[in-house]
Symmetry: none
Subunit: 258 residues, 2 copies
């Protein structure tokens, strides 16, 4: 079996550190951005920042766990005997993936009842998707990885259906200036999520050893940054465009009568 080299170890360590820095910076960006959107979009910005905050925390922990699992003294890589904690990723996703969908629903500004029903349904489906994926991630046989992976695809496909069929009439109701971005956000969710099963099944098709580890860890990291930080920037841009009218009205209101 091919084993991890020091260079591969370093690449993964640096990817984790990069993700921490990006996600922490994104968190501040979103929370400061709250003051630049209309009141009805402030919760969407708060949650967008929560997602990157939770992910930044987990990448910090993942980096620590990675460093504790290996010893790199004298440019030779040895395992320390402490296992790298893969579960951090799933704990993170269990929290962040439902919230990601909630932030998309919130920024759309639907009616209260539609917001609650769609956010609840999408949130539960996302949580189910993560829970079903985990047993496969830690499975030692390819068969188990396939079984749980495919089980996890059922809520995943349902989410895609909800986003593309369920939401399509609501997207048509978005202001023209924001409609294109809302649609892009939906594709970004699917595009970045499509990454996860690819990485996941890389472990099931027999890719093994150092290269597999690099593909899995760096792949998940890129997917997380895209699905959380890049997605969040889109949410912010949507919220800002939809807030333009609110701020314009505010400025008009305080104009003195001639």
């Amino acid at each position: 079996m091919e084993t991890l080299t020091v260079g591969q170890y370093d690449l993964i360590y640096n990817a984790f550190s990069f993700a921490f820095a990006t996600l922490a910076a994104a968190t501040i960006f979103f929370w400061l951005g709250r003051s630049q959107v209309a009141p009805q979009y402030k919760t969407a910005m708060t949650i967008t920042g929560l997602v990157t905050f939770i992910a930044a925390y987990h990448y910090f922990r993942i980096g620590e766990s990675w460093a504790a699992a290996f010893d790199t003294a004298d440019a030779s890589l040895q395992t320390t005997g402490y296992a790298f904690n893969q579960a951090y990723r799933y704990v993170d996703w269990l929290l962040t993936v439902p919230l990601l969908l909630v932030e998309l629903i919130l920024v759309m500004g639907l009616s209260r009842s539609e917001t609650i029903s769609r956010a609840t349904r999408l949130g539960l489906l996302a949580a189910l998707m993560i829970i079903l994926g985990y047993p496969g991630e830690v499975a030692t046989t390819a068969g188990a990885r396939w079984f749980w992976g495919i089980a996890s695809m059922i809520p995943f496909l349902w989410i895609i259906y909800e986003l593309f069929v369920g939401l399509s009439s609501s997207i048509k109701d978005q202001p023209e200036d924001a409609r294109g971005l809302v649609s892009v956000a939906r594709y970004l969710v699917i595009g970045s999520w499509a990454f996860y099963p690819v990485v996941y099944f890389a472990g099931a098709v027999g890719l093994d050893g150092g290269t597999a580890t690099v593909v899995i860890e760096v792949g998940y990291t890129i997917a997380d940054i895209t699905a959380k930080a890049v997605f969040g920037v889109l949410i912010f841009m949507i919220a800002q465009r939809k807030s333009a009218e609110y701020f314009a009205r505010q400025n008009t209101v305080v104009q003195p009568a001639e």
Copy 2:
């Protein structure tokens, strides 16, 4: 081969600590400054602070990695066997250099379409410049250092062209009060960036051992502080000058009618 002395080790360690303190302080300065600029410049100030935030994080990590690589007990410098992680710098630049250009574009207050196209182009060129430089930084031969260094100069020269030719008409459109500072900001980008290849090629012209390490580490540190914290102060000054009219108008509005 000349090796590092305890004095040189200390000088570099203290430079890293100085950079962390400066960049962390600059971060707070820029974020607090958000409330002193007009709404359209708040994102520029947020990003200015993100750049120094990300850099402060990396200088903290760089300092820790430096300390872990050497043992200075009894005033005798010994390596510990753990490599100093040079990659932190490149991970930092990959994030901060594109953002630096974005903050300059944002503070110029161009049209939405021009902002997006220029920020995207400059951001991608900057990322490409960093990615091409990295293989040379970790290369063990001077030839590889020259090859990747020169490859990295191509996007660098393109960025200079964009800043001096592409942006020149937009700079003429800046309010008179801010025009000079925007032009200075542009020169500061180029001036501080010119520092990086000098330091980079110091490793390719055969400068070696302790002196080379001091030149590289302290040189990069001075360049980072100039390009991020000093540059950010300029961005804040530009944003403030361009906000004067906004605040004057706001004050007029709340005046009671005579």
